[in-house]
């Protein structure tokens, strides 16, 4: 009390943290400058500030490769991400609710089953997954990817939802039950709205993972007419040469939607990580 807010120590600490934050921005700086460099300069002076700012890089990148524009790829990415996240929220919340509220031993086993699903690296299962998905006609289209991602990230969604449901007072559901609501009505009218903070967390976490995933999308969409953003961007990397300025410009474009979503859902996201339900 009565002391200055800034002592030498806090001042130093703040400077250090600001420095760290600046360091965090360095990749974004390079991303931005390379995205507007002329084609040749990417190779001659990759780290320098562009001698000439080429805004048309964005429009060239937007045209895409192999006849698929970046706009189409962006739409595909949105379809895949939104579709997968919607299914993950639906199945994840429902499954977690049943597992967390059921007191039988089977529920405990199921929970363990899902946790193990988070730990196991899914890359190991790519070959059998690919062959079975191909025989189901789910390779090379968005529906296949949606099904795939829903399966891959369901364990994480269930894990996140379960923790939240367990902390949710059971009184609300009991009150609704006495008030004459059916099971499904209790879930959709009472429980699901109360899960909103964790729903935002699940949406952002799985959404980011799906949006940024390259490996699965490359394997399941490569060569198809409906590539997602990462696959389309990879199209700029050829066998003999890579057009890095195009790649970087496309990456910048692809950052926009996910950044926008984060800004909108930021408050809910933090609440989902830290808090419960306030009555």
């Amino acid at each position: 009390m009565g002391q200055h807010r800034y002592t030498l120590k806090t001042y130093g600490l703040e400077l250090l943290l600001l420095g760290l934050a600046a360091l965090w921005c360095v990749p974004f700086y390079y991303l931005s400058i390379v995205a507007v460099k002329p084609d040749m300069e990417v190779f001659t002076a990759p780290m320098s500030f562009p001698s000439e700012v080429r805004w048309d890089n964005f429009s060239r990148a937007w045209e895409g490769t192999a006849g698929v524009s970046l706009g189409t790829a962006l739409a595909n990415s949105i379809i895949v991400t939104v579709g997968s996240v919607a299914l993950l929220i639906f199945f994840g919340s429902l499954t977690a609710y049943v597992i967390s509220r059921n007191r039988q031993r089977l529920a405990g086993w199921l929970y363990t089953f899902f946790v193990v699903g988070i730990i196991l690296p899914y890359q190991l299962a790519v070959v059998p997954l690919f062959s079975s998905m191909r025989s189901l006609g789910l390779v090379g289209n968005q529906i296949g990817l949606i099904v795939l991602y829903t399966g891959l990230f369901l364990p994480m969604a269930v894990f996140l939802y379960s923790g939240f449901v367990r902390a949710l007072p059971v009184d609300y559901e009991e009150a609704a039950e006495v008030d004459g609501a059916t099971r499904s009505r209790i879930f959709f009218r009472i429980v699901f709205p109360l899960l909103r903070p964790i729903t935002a967390t699940v949406a952002v976490m799985t959404g980011l993972l799906i949006w940024n995933d390259f490996f699965m999308q490359l394997i399941f969409l490569s060569g198809s007419q409906s590539p997602t953003l990462p696959v389309a961007i990879y199209g700029f990397v050829g066998e003999f040469t890579a057009r890095w300025n195009m790649v970087f410009a496309a990456v910048l474009v692809s950052l926009v939607p996910i950044l926008g979503f984060y800004l909108v859902a930021q408050r809910q996201l933090i609440q989902g990580f830290t808090g419960g339900v306030k009555s």
């Binding site: 009184d171 009991e174 006495v178 008030d179 004459g180 609501a181 009472i190």
Partner: protein, 398 residues
């Protein structure tokens, strides 16, 4: 409206503990029944079984003319008020109150009309568009009541609905709930650990301890004629004074010995009950604080008890005079256990008193006269007001 009948109801958990043991209780149509007892006595479990939120291990539970053991809560047509109100935080007050009606697919116009009528009754009209978090504790309590009354159910179940309110609001809401119950005439089962609520609100009170029903009766009946030591200690504030003593021959109708002091009994004391079988055996003697009187205003023939004044608490229009009596405190294990069930500190005090051979008792007197702390004085007592209990079983002997 419907009666609720517990017939040989038992609730046993997987680990074998019995939360409710062979409960037989009838809540008559339109009656306001209070179930009271210390925490862990099984009162909430009994209530939750009526709501259908807890399975019944044994016995038969009837609401109206229907056995409801296997009926889902939503099919029982009862309304419940929870301890923490359980208002849906994401819904407005209107939506909260309307929820039970919407579950029954009631037309929107009727829902609106009923919710507004309930809100009017409870003084919530201005708050219908707000969320529960913007309301005070008392208002939330009213919303919970609104959600219960709007449906006009067969019965209300209330689980300590006032325990989250401050003392002043609790007194106010106590009166409101009682008035509402009288107006609506809906059968109500109300659970509380607060004996003041029990005494002031209910038509009848059921006292429970360790899952077993101890006594059912009107508040005054429980106060004046407790069935056992537990009910005697639980009902009444300040609690009944308990002293070890015995009844011996002497005088025409026997003598009650408390320490070295003797109180001559009257004919009606021995005539009723089983007291005559307990001659020369240690008993627990109970004296209500208001039955220790100042000799000046009392019957000149009434027996006297001498005790030292330790502390005077003025609470106009009355005062609580704490006295120290040379006598043996209640020492039997079961009596101590009973006391501990009512209040842990009370049992500890009894244990300490046992070492000093002195008993602390309280007299409730009008505030008119001044008493000096440290003085020894005589107190008149009417033998007809004494309560006698078996020290081992706790059963009342008279």
């Amino acid at each position: 409206m419907a009666s609720i009948i517990y017939k040989n109801i038992t609730k046993r958990y997987a680990d074998g503990t019995k939360a409710v043991d062979n409960l037989n209780l009838e809540i008559r149509e339109g009656e306001f029944m209070i179930v009271v007892g210390p925490s862990g006595c099984g009162k909430t479990t009994a209530l939750r079984m009526a709501a259908g939120l807890e399975d019944i291990t044994d016995g038969q539970l009837t609401i109206g003319d229907r056995v409801v053991n296997d009926l889902e809560p939503r099919d029982r047509d009862i309304a419940m008020v929870f301890q923490n109100y359980a208002l849906y935080p994401h819904m407005t007050i209107f939506e909260n109150i309307a929820f039970p009606l919407q579950n029954r697919n009631m037309p929107a116009a009727e829902v609106k009309q009923r919710v507004q009528a309930a809100a009017r009754t409870l003084g919530l009209e201005e708050h219908l568009d707000r969320r529960p978090k913007h309301l005070s504790g008392g208002q939330r309590q009213r919303v919970a009541m609104g959600r219960a009354i709007v449906r006009r159910p067969k019965a209300f179940l209330m689980d300590e609905p006032l325990s989250n309110l401050d003392a002043k609001l609790r007194v106010q809401m106590r009166a409101e709930i009682t008035r509402m119950q009288r107006d609506l005439g809906v059968t109500t089962l109300y659970v509380t650990h607060d004996q003041v609520e029990a005494m002031t609100m209910g038509d009848r009170i059921a006292v429970m301890r360790k899952g077993v029903l101890q006594q059912v009766g009107a508040p005054v009946e429980l106060y004046e004629k407790p069935a056992n030591l537990f009910v005697a200690s639980f009902i009444g504030s300040p609690a009944m004074n308990l002293v070890q003593g015995r009844v011996t021959n002497g005088n025409p109708f026997g003598v009650c010995e408390i320490g070295r002091q003797q109180i001559a009994l009257t004919s009606d004391v021995l005539r009723n009950g089983r007291l005559s079988n307990y001659h020369d055996r240690d008993l627990v003697i109970g004296i209500r604080p208001e039955h220790l009187e100042d000799p000046q205003g009392a019957d000149p023939m009434a027996p006297r008890l001498t005790a030292k004044i330790r502390l005077v608490e003025m609470l106009p229009p009355e005062q609580l005079v704490h006295l120290e009596l040379d006598a043996e405190p209640v020492a039997s294990i079961s009596a101590l256990e009973l006391a501990a069930d009512v209040d842990k500190t009370r049992a500890e005090n009894l244990r300490l008193e046992a070492q000093s051979h002195r008993v602390s008792i309280v007299a409730r007197l009008p505030s008119g006269r001044r008493y000096t702390e440290g003085e020894t004085a005589e107190w008149a007592i009417n033998p007809a007001n004494l309560h006698f209990f078996d020290g081992e079983t706790g059963e009342v002997l008279r």
